[in-house]
């Protein structure tokens, strides 16, 4: 696969997602509007109204129905996309588990937004983090370019016969969704060739016949049956096995896409920025990484050995990449744009600290909860994190392992 000519188009994150979906020849889109995802649904409706896509667009009456529709359309053999945010994702919660349990490889963009109450339309990751254990792959974009690229990759990952799991692509509400950015766009045909047509695996039905895994009148199959003590556990174990296999698939799809587009994001799972020789490092997710990179550059100019590890893939958790990248660091700060109320730090902190626990030379770790409800995260706050990390690296002492950053208190 050779790199193709691309054109530069000014797009906000939502429009970049809508364009990617249009290019992926999606069969069914069932969606409901919610800020800050609305532009995706609006833009896609325009594509439909103008005859630019060959897609059944189901403009449903709730996110719950959006996900139910998506599951059964997917089970009928269609390639399916939907999009949501915040309360919409929370309303889908029940159906998210059904989607992963029914092995429906739906792709969904989640335009990350705070959860109510109090009601707030701005960015944080509390919506998607609340769905951490629901069986969906989770990929988070740093910028609109990556949101565009990740949607295209997501179809190929989700529908891979070793995976067959639903996949969400997170992009930060307003910070990305509503902000114009120059996005390199692949030609339609190149995307179509890359994603191909959806394939379904062969499975055994109740009569012992091998049939395609879909609702097909010629090959009857019962999907979503009652499944009690004797088989449920095995089915859940299979889901976990597919999650593990997804790690390699994500890397492979990401690498193939890099050849086509010339763009890559670390190894597709994590992106290490000036981390090799770093003594202190920040771990974060999403658009905040862009600001952290600027701060790292400034610190490097001052001779401070600072680095960044951005988690692009949060589910499945790339444990080996986390461990290998953080081994030998003196102090690491994990930034969480979500609060695990009553927990021992934010959700990302749990994962990172747990992953490095077995390292003989594990770094000292601190956790910063930041940016809830869209609270700005300017470079000066990130500088403050690195200052603290320097202090920890020198003294070996952590005064406050869990802190709130940029908060009035």
């Amino acid at each position: 696969m050779a790199k193709v000519e691309q054109k530069t188009v000014p797009l906000n994150g939502d429009n970049a997602v809508a364009l990617a979906v249009k290019q992926c020849d999606v069969d069914v889109v069932a969606a409901y509007p919610i800020t800050p995802q609305t532009i995706i649904v609006e833009k896609f409706s325009e594509y439909v109204a103008d005859g630019e896509v060959d897609t059944a667009f189901v403009c449903v009456e709730s996110e719950h129905t959006a996900m139910a529709c998506s599951i059964t359309a997917s089970a009928t053999g269609a390639r399916v996309f939907t999009a949501t945010a915040s309360a919409g994702l929370a309303l889908m919660h029940e159906m998210l588990g059904v989607a992963s349990g029914c092995r429906a490889p739906i792709v969904m963009s989640v335009v990350n937004r705070a959860l109510s109450a109090p009601i707030n339309i701005h960015c944080d990751h509390s919506d998607a983090m609340s769905e951490r254990d629901i069986g969906w792959l989770q990929i988070y974009a740093e910028n609109s370019q990556e949101a565009y690229d990740s949607i295209i990759q997501a179809f190929k990952i989700a529908e891979n016969l070793d995976v067959i799991l639903p996949t969400m692509v997170g992009l930060d509400g307003f910070v990305l969704s509503h902000t114009l950015e120059n996005v390199e766009v692949l030609p339609d045909q190149a995307v179509k060739n890359f994603v191909g047509t959806r394939q379904v695996p062969q499975v055994m039905n109740h009569k012992g016949d091998i049939v395609p895994f879909k609702l097909d009148p010629a090959n009857p199959l019962t999907i979503g049956p009652l499944d009690l003590h004797d088989y449920y556990f095995e089915h859940k174990r299979q889901q976990e096995e597919s999650m593990r296999k997804a790690l390699e698939v994500i890397k492979k799809v990401h690498a193939d896409y890099a050849k086509l587009s010339g763009r890559s994001y670390g190894n597709g799972l994590v992106e290490a920025y000036k981390l090799d020789d770093a003594e202190i490092a920040v771990v974060c997710i999403g658009s905040t990484a862009g600001t952290v990179k600027t701060v790292v550059d400034e610190l490097r100019e001052k001779g401070i050995k600072a680095g960044l590890l951005r988690l692009r893939t949060f589910r499945p958790l790339p444990v080996e990449d986390i461990v290998s990248n953080l081994a030998g660091k003196k102090a690491v700060a994990v930034m969480d744009r979500a609060c695990s109320f009553g927990g021992n730090g934010g959700p990302l902190f749990h994962e990172i600290r747990h992953s490095v626990y077995d390292l003989a030379d594990r770094p000292q770790l601190v956790n910063y909860i930041y940016g809830l409800g869209g609270r700005d995260i300017p470079p000066k706050l990130i500088n403050r994190i690195y200052s603290t990390l320097q202090k920890i690296a020198q003294t070996g002492q952590v005064d406050k392992p869990i802190q709130f950053l940029g908060l009035r208190e």
Partner: protein, 323 residues
């Protein structure tokens, strides 16, 4: 239009020879009305068909993995999603056929849900799917309470009935409210086809099911289906009890095509000869769930039930131009 639909003619013998799509061996209770309804309705299929089920008795009894009673493709996702499921299947079939990835000329889509999944938790999805005009048949199998979870009241439970969440207590004698007129609410959606049916009138039921499949756009079939466990009735009497529901006008049979009501034969007979209309007591006495209503102190409830049945019957006759 419904009127242009083919007239399906068959003898009883021919009907029995139609292969079963809802196979025996499932785990429904003795005397289960909904199981009878599903079997009959599936025999009305005219060609390739995909079914979906809300969570409930019929889903549970027909599919314990790795067994299934469904000789057709079938999917279950959740309790409140029967109509949403149908919408997703129908949308996918349409586009995949357009793209040449499905060869079948036509695939019917049928959604099954009980009264809980229809009157209550699934109503929003149902209303939305009908408003969007998806081409599917929605079958409500109404046994008038949440039977799968152990007989709790729903919006479809009749006034005065005992359930475990509307117990016949010392102060409150069973369910305080009347049954939600769900089929009329569906007619108000200005949808192409709405009908009520009853397992006691099997031919009327299967013809209506076929019509619901044939119609272009959404169709709603409200099927009356007794539950001996929940109704505290004899397992061998489900069909008799169901017939009494229509003979007393507790559950009249009718069709409405684009809002135009028309009585079906079993109820038309009563409309033409009102002396044939039986008092509600005859029906209520067959079921333990109404037993407390026959105590002297609950006389008023019985009278309320009769007067509400009469009021709704008169309203229906007016709608059918037969008042």
């Amino acid at each position: 239009m419904v009127r242009s639909m083919s007239e399906w003619k068959f003898t009883s013998k021919e009907f029995t020879q139609i292969p079963e799509k809802f196979a025996s061996g499932h785990r429904a209770c003795a005397g289960c009305g909904p199981a009878v309804a599903l079997r009959l309705i599936m025999k009305a299929a005219r060609g390739p068909i995909i079914a979906t089920n809300a969570t409930g008795c019929m889903e549970v009894v027909s599919t314990i993995y790795p067994y299934t009673s469904w000789n057709i493709p079938w999917i279950h996702t959740a309790f409140e999603t029967a109509a949403a499921n149908a919408a997703g299947i129908e949308s996918a079939i349409k586009i995949l056929r357009k793209k040449g990835r499905i060869k079948d000329e036509h695939v019917d889509v049928v959604a099954f849900a009980g009264d809980g999944g229809t009157f209550d938790i699934g109503f929003q999805a149902l209303s939305g799917a009908v408003e969007r005009g998806h081409d599917f048949l929605y079958v409500l199998y109404d046994n008038e309470a949440y039977m799968n979870t152990g007989i709790q009241r729903s919006g479809g439970t009749p006034h005065g009935a005992w359930t475990t969440t509307s117990p016949a207590g010392k102060v409150i004698p069973g369910k305080a409210e009347h049954k939600k007129p769900i089929a009329d609410i569906m007619v108000a959606h200005e949808m192409p086809y709405v009908a009520t049916a009853n397992i006691a009138y099997w031919k009327d039921l299967v013809v209506k099911a076929r019509k619901g499949m044939e119609v272009n756009g959404p169709a709603f079939l409200h099927t009356f289906a007794p539950c001996p466990r929940g109704w505290r009735s004899e397992t061998g009497k489900s069909v008799e009890i169901a017939r009494l529901a229509t003979e007393t006008c507790v559950f009249p049979l009718w069709e409405a095509e684009y809002g135009e009501y028309k009585l079906s034969s079993p109820s038309k007979v009563i409309a033409l000869k009102p002396e044939k209309k039986k008092p509600v007591d005859v029906y209520l006495k067959t079921q333990g769930r109404f037993r407390h209503l026959f105590k002297p102190e609950n006389k008023q409830v019985l009278e309320d039930i009769q007067s509400e049945v009469d009021r709704r019957w008169q309203k229906l006759l007016k709608a059918c131009d037969m008042a």
